[in-house]
């Protein structure tokens, strides 16, 4: 590229956008290493004069009241997200494989139904699901969340995995079948090993979705001990004061794993998110 107006404008634009993107994260981190007293100064200390990891220590020590609660939420979130992910992969892999490989009647109709799911407003589902969960005796259980996340995650998981399966030449399976494998063996011995990066990416994506989910968790759970992290954050708002360093530290702990996972697997997710829209 030659030097000129557009490249320079591009750099300036990207720079400003990067600041916009990262400013909240930066301030989250800075606030989290302040004391409560320092945090509520105005104008604020731009760089904490007495940085401290107290907020983190408090959150992570089981002996403190706040730590006990936080660690419980953390474990709850881990459990719900992991269960969702594992079940999701088990259900989505065969379905995605079928969508990728078989030409059965109704296949297209089914797939557009899957795509339409992207448009379904979560809040519309809240009431009937809430009543259904009540009827099944699942309200205020984490199983209600797992079931819901599983369902709402499936379409995208299937789509994502289908993309990975599509990229595995069908001749490999045919070769395996001629070499003496049954259809299932061909899938297990040839397709699965080749698609494991895709399956891992899909799994992590559904993990992140479940980890971040708020609306259903807010509605289905009311027992304080069962809350997941996103809902649990409200714990830092009391009638009298907000524990900003604690809230920021908790937000930070909650965000780090997903941001890290996403950035490491960026390539797969970007592909997954965009494939359907740009590929015909």
């Amino acid at each position: 590229m030659r030097r000129g107006f557009w490249p320079v404008a591009g750099w300036v634009y990207l720079g400003l956008l990067a600041v916009f993107s990262l400013l909240p994260m930066a301030w989250m981190l800075i606030t989290s290493i302040k004391t409560q007293f320092a945090a509520i100064q105005f104008p604020p200390e731009w760089i904490p004069s007495h940085p401290t990891l107290d907020a983190y220590a408090e959150l992570l020590s089981p002996s403190r009241e706040i730590g006990r609660v936080f660690l419980r939420y953390l474990l709850n979130s881990l459990w719900v997200s992991t269960a969702t992910t594992v079940l999701g992969v088990i259900v989505a892999v065969p379905a995605a494989y079928a969508f990728s490989r078989f030409r059965f009647p109704g296949r297209n109709l089914l797939f557009y139904a899957v795509l339409l799911r992207n448009m379904f407003p979560a809040v519309v589902f809240l009431m009937p699901l809430f009543i259904m969960m009540r009827w099944l005796g699942l309200v205020n259980t984490q199983f209600s969340l797992i079931l819901t996340y599983l369902t709402f995650g499936l379409p995208l998981s299937i789509w994502l995995l289908k993309g990975f399966f599509d990229n595995i030449p069908i001749q490999l399976e045919q070769a395996a079948r001629i070499d003496g494998a049954s259809r299932f063996q061909a899938f297990l011995l040839v397709v699965m090993p080749l698609s494991s990066p895709g399956i891992i990416a899909t799994a992590i994506y559904s993990f992140i979705q479940a980890w971040n989910e708020y609306v259903y968790a807010l509605t289905f759970l009311n027992d304080d001990a069962k809350l997941t992290l996103p809902v649990g954050l409200q714990h830092f708002f009391t009638e009298y004061a907000t524990n900003w360093p604690g809230l920021m530290a908790a937000s930070f702990i909650m965000s780090v794993p997903v941001v890290a996972m996403f950035l490491v697997l960026q390539k797969y997710f970007v592909r997954a998110l965009t494939d359907g829209a740009v590929k015909s």
Binding site: P7, G10, Y13, L17, A18, F20, S21, L22, L23, P24, M25, W27, A39, Q41, P44, V91, A92, P94, Y97, A98, F99, F102, F104, L110, Y112, L115, N118, F120, P121, A122, V123, F125, L126, M127, P128, I131, M132, L147, T151, L154, P155, R183, I208, Y214, V215, T219, L247, M248, S251, M254, S255, V259, F262, Q266, R271, L273, T274, G276, A277, V278
Partner: protein, 292 residues
Amino acid sequence: MVRHRADYLYVAPAILVMGLVIAYPVWFTFYLSVFSTPPNLALEDKIFVGLDNYGRILGADSVREASLNTLVWTVASTGFAFVLGFGAALALNRPFRGRGLLRGTLLVPYVISAVAAAYVWRWLLHSDLGVISALAMASGLRSTPFNFLDNTDTVLASLIMVNVWKEFPFVMIMMLAGLQTVPDQLLRAAQVDGAGPWQRFWHITVPHLGNVSLVTILLLLAANFNGFTIPWVMTGGGPAGASEIWITQIYQLAFGRIRFGLASAYSVILFAVMMTMGYFYVRALVGKDRPS
């Protein structure tokens, strides 16, 4: 030999789960929308009221105000996010050192949980202690702090800004992927034919991005129309209903006031609007498979 019947077995578990958790609720929402439900949710005591619930929703002043907010929130969030994200995609669509890192950086808002984002922004925009106000004052732009979220005139715009912050990376990666499908040869051919950068962009790049843009915008419209977490966590619809949108009203109606019948009617209305958008979304997706 494996016949088609067996093929369905692979899909069956997924269909079953989705049928249970998607099809049934849709039907049930329609069903509930013609009943008045008691606040203790004892559904055997519900009373059939025909289309009364719809009439009450459509006639309510608060719904009318929220409708305007919903429109502004949905359209403005989508528009700004699209422009911002498309710009980023264009700027990123050339090789340079650190491109991956920069793209990763710009993706952070998209990945972070909406709740954490909402809390952080609530803190950034705090009326007394907010760092945005502090920055504006420190640079001499203002002498007093902003009241971003406690002012009925600015609250919706503030929420839209946060929403745009969260969503522009999505546009960025969609459009970036779209840009990569623009055939290089065509661009070079145009360059040889004497087209300048701006003409190449307008005559070759833009036409190629039509479908991606359409799908991206529709997905954004849907996501924003259903956007709940940011307004709910940041303002809960306040102050004085100034940031109330359909979704927050439905939630408040259903789980604040436990009026499921009424809230269902409201949901059906929202659902109808969504499905209209969904129709165009599927058409956009299917349409590009066919030669036009």
